[in-house]
Amino acid sequence: MDDLALVFVVAVALGFDFTNGFHDAANSIATVVATRVLAPRYAVMWAAFFNFVAFLVFKTEVASTIAKDVVKQDVLSIGVIFAGLVGAIAWNLFTFYLGLPSSSSHALVGGMAGAAVAKSGLDAVVSSGLGKIGCFIVLAPLIGLALAFIVMAVVLRISTRFHNVEKLNRVFRRLQLISAGAYSLGHGGNDAQKTMGIILALLIATGHVAPDGETPLWVVLSAHAAIALGTLTGGWRIVHTMGSRITRLQPVGGVSAESAGAATLFFVSAKGIPVSTTHTITGCIVGVGSIHRLSAVRWGVAGRVVWAWILTIPGAAVIAALTFVVLRVFS
C-alpha cells in the first residue's frame, strides 16, 4: 500500500514539474519568438532541449536543500509531502485565477512547511533553511535586475560605436539563441531540482534512500524529462509574454535580460538555493527596462510580483496544513 502511495505521489510531483515547464516556457523564448528569430514551435524545442540537458551541468544541491533544509527529516512522510504538493498546486491555480504571478517554487516550500507544521508544530521546519530561501526570494530578482542593468548599459555603450544599426540588430537577434539557451539551462537546473528534492524527500521518508544519500539518477532524469516535456507541450500556446507585459524588449534587451537571468540562476543553483525563475527574469526585464527611465517599466506587473513574494509561502502553507489535517481525519 505504501509503495502504491509512493508511486502516486511521485507521479503528482512529476505532474507539478510538467506544469512548471508548461507555464514557464514563455519566460525563456518570449524574445526569440517576438523578434522572429525562431518560429514558436522550434523555439520551445530549443528551450526544452536545454531544460533537459541541464542535468549534465548542475549538481543536485538545490534538490538536497528542498529535501533536507525545509522540513526536519523525522517529520517527513508521504502524507506531509502529498499535502505540501496539494497546497502548492492549489495555490498556483488560485493565483493563476487572480492573475498574481506567484512562484511555484515558493508555493512548494510553503506547502511542505505548512503540512509539516500541521503534523508536528513549529519545530518541524528547518528555520535556517527557510530563512535562506526567504532571503533569496528578494535577492534573486534584485541580483538579476542589477546584472541586467549593468549588461544593458555596457552593451549600449559598446553599440554606440557601431553605425550600422540594422547589422547590429541582426547580431543581437542571433545572440538571443545563445542567451535563451543559457536561460533555459538555468531554468531546468533550478526548477527541475525542486521536483527532484520532493521525490528525494519521499524516498528518504519511505526508507528507499539513506538520510544523507544522493539523488538517484532515475529521479534526476525523470524530473528533467518532465519539465522539458512541459515546455515542449505548453510553450507555444502562451501568447502573452513576459517581455511585452513588463516592458517592450528589443533584441539587445532580450540578450541582456536572458544573460543576466542565466548568470543569476547559475549562481543560485551552484549555491543550492531554490529561487523563482519567473521572478528572476522579471527582475532582469525590469533592469533592462529601467536603463533609460523608470517609467518604461510597467510597475503594475512588478508590484504584483512583490505581493506574490509576501503571500505565496503563507498561502500555500495554510492550504497544505488544512489538506494534511483532512488527510489525517480520513486516514
Binding site: 535556517s128 530563512g131 535562506k132 532571503c135 528578494v138 535577492l139 534584485l142 541580483i143 535586475l145 542589477a146 542593468f149 549593468i150 549555491k271 529601467s290 527611465r293 523608470l294
Partner: protein, 55 residues
C-alpha cells in the same frame, strides 16, 4: 524634482543590506555585495540624471 531611478536603487540597496543581518554566515557576502552594487548604481544614476538636467 528627484531622480526616481536613483531612489529605487537606494531602496534596493537598503533592502539587500538589511538581509545581511538575517541570512546565514556563509552567504552574508551576497546581500552585502548586492547592496554595494546598488549603492554604486544609485550614485551613477543620480550623476547621470544631474548631468542631463543641467544640459
Amino acid at each position: 524634482m528627484i531622480d526616481h531611478r536613483a531612489l529605487f536603487f537606494f531602496v534596493a540597496a537598503a533592502l539587500s543590506g538589511s538581509l545581511a543581518f538575517v541570512i546565514e554566515d556563509d552567504l552574508v557576502y551576497v546581500p552585502r555585495t548586492v547592496a554595494i552594487v546598488y549603492l554604486i548604481l544609485a550614485a551613477v544614476s543620480w550623476l547621470d540624471w544631474r548631468t542631463n538636467n543641467r544640459a
